[in-house]
Each structure stands twice: as C-alpha cells, then as structure tokens.
Amino acid sequence: MDRPAVRFSHVAKRFRLGETHDTLRDLLAYGVRRLLGRGTGDGRSTFWALDDVDFEVARGEAVGIIGPNGAGKSTVLKLLAGILRPDRGAVSVDGRLAALIEVGAGFHGDLTGRENLFLNGAILGMSRDEVRRKLDAIVSFAGIERFLDMPVKRYSSGMYARLGFSIAAHVEPEVLLVDEVLSVGDAVFRLRCLERMRRLVHSGTTLVFVTHDLDQMQSICGRAIVLEQGRVAHEGPARDAVGHYMSAMSRAFADRPADLHADDDGRGGTVELLDLRWFDADHEEVVWVRPGQGIRAELTLRLVRPVRSLVVELNMRAATNEPLLSLNSGRGDRMFNGDAGVHRIGLRLPEIPLSGGQYFWNVRIWDAEHGTTLLDTPFRFPMVINDGGHGTGALCLDHEWSFDSVEAATAASDNSLSLQGEGWGEGALVGVTPHPASPLKGRGAGGEYPPGLGGAREDLPVR
C-alpha cells in the first residue's frame, strides 16, 4: 500500500518545432538541404516541454497541477495516460487508470447517444456489462434521457459534453486524470461534476487534476504542483501553491506590461487607444491589486475627428472567460464631448470585490449619437488580484462577524472559543483556547459558525 499511485521521476519530454515531414516532398527537400549543409540542427528545432519534472502522488490523494498556458500541464497528463512517452525519466501509474483529457473523444456523430455510450465506455476501459449496469446512472447524470436514441451530431454542445463527462465519471478508476474539461457545460452541471469528483476522491480514487480554475482546484485537491516553463516551480499544500502561482503571475506582469499597441486598437479608425494604466491612491502605477484596494484607470485616446457623444465602456472577464463586470460611462448619462486630438479618461474604483486570480479587461468606445461602435478590443488587458492565495469563491466582500452566547454555564462553559488568524477565506476558525473571543479579521466566503459554547458577546469587526 505504500507504493505511490503515480510516480513521475525526473521526466523530460521534448517536442519538435515545425520540422515534421508530413509529405514525402518535405522530407526530400529537407534531405537535400541537409546534404547541402544548410540543414537546421536538431537542437534548434526542438524544445523541452518538460524538463526534469519529479513528483509522486500517494494512493487516494488529490493533486492539482496549475501553471500558465504552455507550462506543460497537459503534457504531464498525456505522459501519465501513456499517450506520450518521456524522452528521459520514467512514468508509472499503479492501478486502473482513466484519463479525461477531452470529453467525448471518440464520439461518432452518426451514432446515437446510446451507441456512443457503449463505444466511449469501451474506449475508457469499461466492459459491456459494466456499461449496461451503469447505463441509467450515466444517462440520468448527463440528463439526456429523451435524446438517448438521437445521433449525437444533433446534440447541443452542452449535451455532448455532459454525456462525455458522465461516461468518464462512471468509469470508477483507481487513478483519474482530468484535464480542464469542466469549462464546458452550464454552471449547474459543472458543480455536479465537481461533486462527483469529490466523491470519487473520498472513496479512495487518486486524482490528478489540471485546471486553470484555482477555486475548483483548491476545493478538491489538498496538494498542488505549480509548473512553469516545463519545470516544477512549487509543490505543496494547494493554498500555498496558489499563492506562489499568483505572485509568480504578478511578477510576470511587472516584467512585461500588456502590449497595448496591437492592430485592433483602432489604428486608422476614428479612435485609437494609446494607453491603459492602473494607479493606486498614491498615484503609483499598479502591477497587481490587493482585494479591497482602491484603484484608478487611465485611458489615453486619440480622436481623429470630433465625436459629440462619446461613451466609454470597460468590461472585465475572469480567466475562465465569464463576464464579471461592465462599467459604462453612458449609464449615468455621462457622455464625453471630444474634439479631435488626444484625451485622457479616468475611472475610479473604490475597490474590486473579487478574490484572487487573473482577470482581463477590454475597452469599448461608442459614438452614442450615431449608435456606432468605434473601438472594441479583445479581452487582453490583464489584471492580477493577489490575495496571497487565500480566496476560494469568486467574490471578496467586506463583512463582519459577531459572536453571542445565548445560554451560559455548564461545567464545560469555561472553554470559550477564540477566533483568530488572518482568516481570509473559508473557515476562519483557527483554534480553541480558553480566552474570550478576539477580533476576527476576515474576508471571503465564511466558515462554519462555532457551536454554541459559552463566552462573552463580542462584535467582530472585519478589516
């Protein structure tokens, strides 16, 4: 039992860049170039997607793998699943394995839901009898009872994804690998998927979970590994790993400010976006934002011609692409009257009530008089909110706890509860000491309310 379920020892994986010869003509051309001495050396045309990555996952443990795009997260999963083979090092998985790298991989559009269910079940390693036994459970979990005998090419993308996940979730593997698949489907289904994964973990399944959603990850995994550029940058308790990841992200943004001058900033149009910066109360430029911090945006625009009723809109999305916030200068009937030339527009936000993570802004500019959009950038202005890795849940609100004792005095009543800690986030109860309650500082999703033990009434101010 002491053998780890997953062992990834000093693994390196190299990929080729470009030079894959898909047709014989390429190969011949490449051969000729090599002969003439103009060949590209192997070193230049390959890169190491993973370099000396080393970790283990104990039986029954749930481990998250996080990191920016291209850090090698999916490569780790594909190596674990056996789809890829390492160039160096060794990978071993002990136990029946199911990998959910893409929902519904192998579905055939012409086959019905039922037929695909048997097909996909077999592909994921279930026997025919097993699928037959679990059929009702799978179908009702996916909620597609009525469409079971319809070809999946007529399914909505949500139904398709639900069926795909549902099959994989019923494989009951000993080791489950999940890659960023919960971004599909609606919110309710996503929650049920998480619940299902949590239950699998409770019943002893080993889980390796790759995701961008740090909340999802923290809610399931006790430990996490941060990958950066193919190396393990951090490994430890999920919260610490998230904190590490967020500070790394903040640093990365400090080094490389958002590239403001992409083609879609309206060059050649009526409005050109010259600059977008964030400042704090001391007029210092902000690299990352602390929850609750007041900030100010400054947009610099150039108008090619006068615009009588200019409306500016700043929109924010989560890293998962969900729209979170839309701030529209036209909402209070504030339209700017802009002559041709350069203008600076300010926007003050007393605070952004969001928990830690990476967010993206876009800028939209309207001509309200003519009802035309003058500029609409993609969501590519990043903002990192750094709460030190404590937040789960999307929101971070001012809040206040109170603590009253309603009935006093049994023998044990001396043991009052003390609440302490920099408690941000879930469950701010830290310890039980024989002192009256001390002030609790807290932000974020609340914890369990303490059971009714004796103690003095105390209001607990927050922040």
Partner: protein, 271 residues
C-alpha cells in the same frame, strides 16, 4: 503498470476490437438504403462488369485458360480480393481518421488497423454466401459440376494466411500514412495495379518469361488461387507456391506488428 507490454495489453485489445469493428460497420451502413446489402452488391457488380468485359467485349475467357463458367471464376477471385483491398484501403486511413482518439485517449493502437480488417471480414463472410449461391446456380444449370472434396477443409487455413498478410500490410500502411500522407495516394494507384497481377479476374501467364517470374513473387497469387482450387477445382493448393505465400504473410505480420508497436509511442506527437 509502467509501460504496457504487448501481453499486458492483449485483454484491452480483445475488449476493444469487437466494439470498434461494430462501430466501423455501423457507421459504414448507417444512412444508406441498402445497408449491409452493399457487401453483396459490390463484388457482384464487379463480377458482372468483368464478365461483360471478358465474354462480350474482349472475347472468350477460355482463351486465357479458364475452364469453368467465367462468372464463377471471377467471383471466386473477387471475394477474397475485395476483402484484401477493402481492408487495406481502410487501414491506410485508420490512424489519421481517428486522430482524436490517438491524441486524447490511450489504448493499444493496433486496434485501428485490426478493426478495419475485422469489419471487412464480415463483408467477406456475406459475399461468401453469394459465392455458394452462385455455385449452386451453375451446378443446377448443368454446364459445370460441383464436387465437394476434403480440400474444402483447407479454406480456413487459406483465410488465416490471407488475414496474416492483410494485417501485417495494414499496420505498415496505417503507420506509414500517419508519418507521410503521400502513402494514401500511392496506395490508391498501387492497389489497382495489384489486382491485375493477382489472378483475380484473369489467370497470369505461366510461360517462364521474366514477367511470369516476377508475378510469381506476389504472395497474393497463391492465396487467391488456393481459394479457387480448394472450393471450385476440388484439389488442394499448389504446395510450393502456397508455402511461399504463407511464409511471406507471416513475416509481414511479425515485422508489421513489431514495427507498429515500436512506432506507436510516437503516433500522438507526429499525427
């Protein structure tokens, strides 16, 4: 688990093969009016076509040394040939067409070419029933007599040798096409030529010429002739030639399969 060995993966392969074969058949005949009827219609229409060519357009097939009703001769060749060419035609594309599975799920990749051969085998079995009907028809008509002999018992051996050759070649083609997409184009031309040098619809020359010697290297000639000998001519196959074909087939199976396994860990990144 470590990295799966051939034997540790066999159960998985056995479980998946019927499922993917069933998928291939199901998809092939779905949304088609005739459905599985095409398994009958394709070789029958080919047989009619060649019967027309060799009895009406060019003149008697007896000129080539065919001593039985020509439709019977042609059909007995076309049934195993169709099995062979359909299998390989599907194998060539099998990995590339399943790119999604190759890059997203792991299981023994052999199952793709194997299921192509298996689903063509189902068509083969159906076409064999038509051959039996044709034999009964010509026997009853009286211009040719069918005599059952113990040589019939050798047919399964011939089939096994043909399957070995087909699987070996199919694996080579499937992986070659994964690395170089030209393979499919070259294959579609080569398979046409191959038919005419395999004694499918017309016997090959036996005159000891250079070409006759070259054609004799084709392992498919003894295999297709063996079906005809065992079923229609009532005697066993030409021993030496068939043994040669069997050895070639088994070598292809071994080298094809081993090569496929060795290359298979690169499939996901090269596809």
């Amino acid at each position: 688990m470590g990295h799966a060995t051939f034997f540790s993966e066999l159960p998985r392969l056995r479980a998946l093969l019927p499922v993917l074969t069933w998928r291939d058949l199901r998809v092939r005949y779905k949304q088609s009016l005739l459905g599985i009827g095409w398994a009958v219609l394709l070789p029958v229409s080919m047989m009619l076509l060649f019967t027309f060519v060799f009895t009406r357009a060019i003149g008697g097939a007896s000129a080539f040394g065919v001593r039985m009703p020509y439709p019977l001769y042609a059909f007995a060749g076309l049934v195993p040939w169709t099995f062979f060419s359909t299998s390989l035609g599907n194998c060539v594309n099998s990995l590339v067409a399943n790119r999604n599975l190759v890059t997203k799920v792991y299981f023994p990749r052999e199952v793709f070419p194997l299921s192509c051969v298996a689903s063509a085998l189902v068509d083969f079995a159906i076409a064999l029933l038509v051959l039996i009907a044709l034999i009964v028809y010509f026997h009853l008509r009286g211009d040719w007599t069918f005599t059952p002999t113990p040589a019939l018992l050798f047919v399964p051996v011939v089939l096994l040798i043909q399957i070995a050759l087909t699987v070996g070649l199919g694996m080579i083609l499937a992986m070659a096409n994964l690395f170089y997409r030209d393979v499919r184009q070259v294959f579609s031309i080569a398979i046409q030529l191959w038919m005419f040098v395999s004694a499918v619809v017309v016997p090959l020359p036996h005159d000891g010429s250079f070409w006759a010697k070259l054609f004799a290297l084709n392992p498919l000639v003894p295999i297709i002739s063996a079906y005809r000998d065992c079923i229609l001519n009532g005697h066993g196959p030409d021993g030496g030639a068939f043994l040669y074909a069997a050895v070639v087939a088994i070598l292809f199976l071994i080298f094809g399969w081993v090569g496929f396994r060795r290359a298979s860990f690169r499939f996901a990144e090269c596809i």
